[in-house]
Subunit: 381 residues, 2 copies
C-alpha cells in the first residue's frame, strides 16, 4: 500500500482585479482611455459592435482606430436576444481565429448591450482558454447590470444563459453618451434593474427614483441627477457582486426579480425584454413579501406607485401559477436544491426564503391581477 | 466633471484547491472514494466514459452506481482525437441539460483519456457557468499529464485546443489498474510525457527511466517501480503546474516538446498521437540545445539512447523546416509575441529562447534525419 495512497494537494490563490470607469466620449480621437489596456503600437484589436450602435457610431469608431494606427477588425453583431446563440458564438470565434490576436496584450473589445457583452465575454473566456476583453455597454441594462460583473453567457437548448463562464474583463468603460440614441423602451428596461437595487438594498436610491426617476427617463440620464442615479446603481451593484464574484454563495440579493422572470423569458417565445420580465417577478415577489408581512401595505404601495411613476411597463399576460411553479422548480437546480428566493424585508433589505408553496403563488398571481386591473399601467410604446 | 470620472476598483482573492489521489480499484463497490465528493443520498451523477473503457469496464462502473443507489446517466464517448470536437462538446451538453444535475453537489464524472477529460472539463466549465467535475484518467497520457492539471479544451477551426478553459476539477483519481487494458502504443504515448519531465526537470526520474523504464513499459506500470515512476512524474508535473496554474507566466518548462509538436498535430491530418508528436519535438529541441552548447554531446546521446531503450517511436516523416518555422510563428500568438521555446540546459534544467532562426531549424532537421538513418528506431506496432 506504500505507493497506493499518494495524495497531492493543489492550492492556488488567484487575484481577480478589474476596473469599472465612467468615461464619456470614449471614441473621441483624443481620448486615450480605451488604449490604456494592452499593446499600443504595431498592434491589432478585434472589435465586436452591436448593429444598433454600428448604425449611429460606425464612422466614429472606425476613425478612432484609424487615428491611433491600430489594425482593427470590426465585426457587426446583430442586435436582439435571439442572437445570443451558439451559432453566433462560434461565428465570432471563427472570425477571431482568422484575424488573429496575441494571447495576452491585444484585448477583444465588446461594444453593445447585455446580449453582446455576454456573448463576447464567453468568446473571450474560451478562445485559447481565455484572452483579455474590454466591455463598453451601450444600453442602460448593460451599463448598470450586465457589463459591470464577470458573467458571460449564451442561450442553449432553449434555456437562457445555459452556457457561459465567469470571465473578469480587463476593464469596463461606462460612456453614458451612448444612451442618447437608445429607444425609450430600452431605457425603461434598464430602469427595472435600478429599481431592483433600490428595493432590496438602497432606500436612498429608492427615494432618488421617487423624486427624479421619471425626469431621468426623459433625459435618458444625460443630466446631473441622471449621472448621480447611475453612479449609485453601479456602485450598489458592484458592492453586491464583489465579495461573491464567482457566486460561491448562491443566496444573492441581486437575484431579486430573477427567479420567475427566468420562466417568462425561457418558456415563452415572447418579445419580452429582460428588465420587463424582472419587473413582473419583482411585483409578484413584493406581493409574496407583503403576504408574509415582510413588507407593510404602505411599502408595497410605495413600490407599485414608483412602478407607475417611472412608466416601466408591467405586463401581466404571462403570469400564471403553473408557469411560476415550474420555473421555481427549475431554478432549484441552478440554486443547488433550494429555492433561495430573495424577498424584500422592508424597503432596502432582503431575506431569502426556501418554502414558497404553490398556493402562495396562486394567491400572489390573483393579487397582481387585481392590481393591474385597477391601475392603468399597461402602456403602449 | 464631478460625476464623469467615477472609478470602481474590483478586487477578489479566489482560492483554487483540488486533490490528486492515487486510488486503485476505484470502482470496487466497497470503495467509497469516488463518492467522497458531492451529495451521497438521493442523488444523481452524469458520467462520461470513453468507448474503449466502456468495452472493458462497463459492468463494473454500472454496478458501482447501482450498489450505491445513485441515479447515474452513463454516456459513452467515442475514443480518439478526432472526437475532440465542438459537435461532441455540444452533444454532451445537451445530454447533460436533459438529465439534469444540481449546480453544486452532483459532480460530473469523466472517465477516459486526455481527449475525454479535456472535452468534459470544458463541458463542466461552461454548463451553468461551471459545475463541479471529477477526472479519472484511464490512459497513461491522462494519468501523468492531461488529467492532473486544470486545462480543458476542444479542437476548433482546424486548430488543436483552440477553445477551452482553465477549470479546476474537484478531484482527480489515479487508478493505474486501468492501464492493464491499454495498448502498448498508448503506454508509449504517455511515456513521452514522463521523458519530458525527466529531461527538463528531474535527473533522478531520468535515471529511473534508464534503469527501469523499459520493464515498466512491459508491465504497464503495474509493479512497484512502475508505481514509483508514476508518482515521481505526477509529482514533478504538479510541482510545475501549481505555482502557475493559470499560465500567467507563459514561459513554462512543461512546454518542452510542445512547440513544433503543435504543427505535427495541427497542420497534418495524421494518426499521430500527442506523445509521438511531443517526442519528435523533444528530439529536435535537444539537437537545437546541443548546437547551442546547452547540452553536451554525451547528454544528447544519453537522451537518444533512452529514446531507443524505452522503445518510444520517433517518426521523422513530418519533420521539415518549413512546417517547423510556420508552427513556431503560430505559437508566437499563443505565447504573446515571443517564441519562448524551452530547451534543456544540461539534463534536468531548462532555459527559454526567443531567437531561433530558420537556418538553425534547417540544420536541426538535417541532424535528426542523420540520426534516424543511423538508428533503427522506427518500430512497427
Amino acid at each position: 500500500m506504500t505507493h497506493e495512497m499518494r495524495k497531492w494537494h493543489i492550492s492556488y490563490q488567484r487575484t481577480i482585479e478589474y476596473e469599472v470607469v465612467s468615461c464619456p466620449n470614449l471614441f473621441h480621437p483624443q481620448n486615450g482611455a480605451l488604449l490604456s489596456i494592452g499593446k499600443k503600437e504595431n498592434t491589432r484589436r478585434f472589435v465586436v459592435v452591436d448593429s444598433n450602435i454600428e448604425k449611429y457610431y460606425s464612422t466614429e469608431i472606425k476613425d478612432f482606430f484609424k487615428y491611433h494606427k491600430i489594425d482593427a477588425k470590426i465585426l457587426t453583431f446583430p442586435a436582439g436576444e435571439k442572437n445570443k446563440s451558439i451559432d453566433n458564438y462560434l461565428w465570432i470565434l471563427r472570425e477571431l481565429d482568422m484575424f488573429p490576436i496575441n494571447r495576452r496584450d491585444e484585448p477583444i473589445i465588446a461594444i453593445g448591450g447585455g446580449v453582446l457583452t455576454d456573448v463576447v465575454g464567453f468568446v473571450a473566456s474560451s478562445y485559447r482558454r481565455g484572452v483579455p476583453h474590454i466591455k463598453i455597454p451601450t444600453t442602460l441594462m448593460g451599463y448598470v447590470d450586465a457589463s459591470v460583473g464577470i458573467k458571460s453567457g449564451i442561450n442553449f437548448n432553449s434555456n437562457k444563459n445555459r452556457l457561459g463562464s465567469f470571465e473578469p474583463p480587463k476593464k469596463v468603460f461606462l460612456d453614458r453618451t451612448f444612451l442618447t440614441t437608445l429607444p425609450k423602451r430600452h431605457i425603461l428596461n434598464g430602469v427595472c434593474e435600478i429599481l431592483k437595487l433600490a428595493i432590496i438594498k438602497d432606500t436612498s436610491l429608492f427615494e432618488l427614483l421617487e423624486s427624479h426617476g421619471a425626469e431621468c427617463v426623459n433625459s435618458k440620464f444625460q443630466d446631473e441627477i441622471g449621472a448621480l442615479i447611475l453612479d449609485r446603481a453601479v456602485g450598489a451593484m458592484l458592492e453586491e457582486l464583489e465579495p461573491n464574484l464567482f457566486e460561491d454563495d448562491l443566496a444573492r440579493r441581486v437575484d431579486f426579480g430573477h427567479t420567475f422572470s427566468y420562466g417568462f423569458e425561457t418558456f415563452h417565445d415572447t418579445q419580452l425584454l429582460h428588465g420587463e420580465a424582472v419587473l413582473i417577478d419583482m411585483a409578484i415577489s413584493a406581493i409574496l413579501a407583503a403576504s408574509r408581512d415582510l413588507l407593510s401595505k404602505q411599502e408595497l404601495n410605495r413600490i407599485f406607485d414608483l412602478i407607475t411613476k417611472l412608466g416601466v411597463v408591467l405586463i401581466d399576460d404571462l403570469v400564471n401559477p403553473d408557469l411560476l411553479w415550474k420555473t421555481l422548480n427549475e431554478r432549484k437546480y441552478h440554486r443547488n436544491g433550494l429555492q433561495r428566493v430573495p424577498l424584500p424585508d422592508g424597503l432596502g433589505k432582503c431575506v431569502f426564503v426556501n418554502d414558497i408553496k404553490f398556493e402562495e403563488i396562486q394567491s400572489a398571481c390573483k393579487n397582481l391581477e387585481n392590481w393591474t386591473e385597477i391601475n392603468d399601467t399597461i402602456h403602449e410604446y
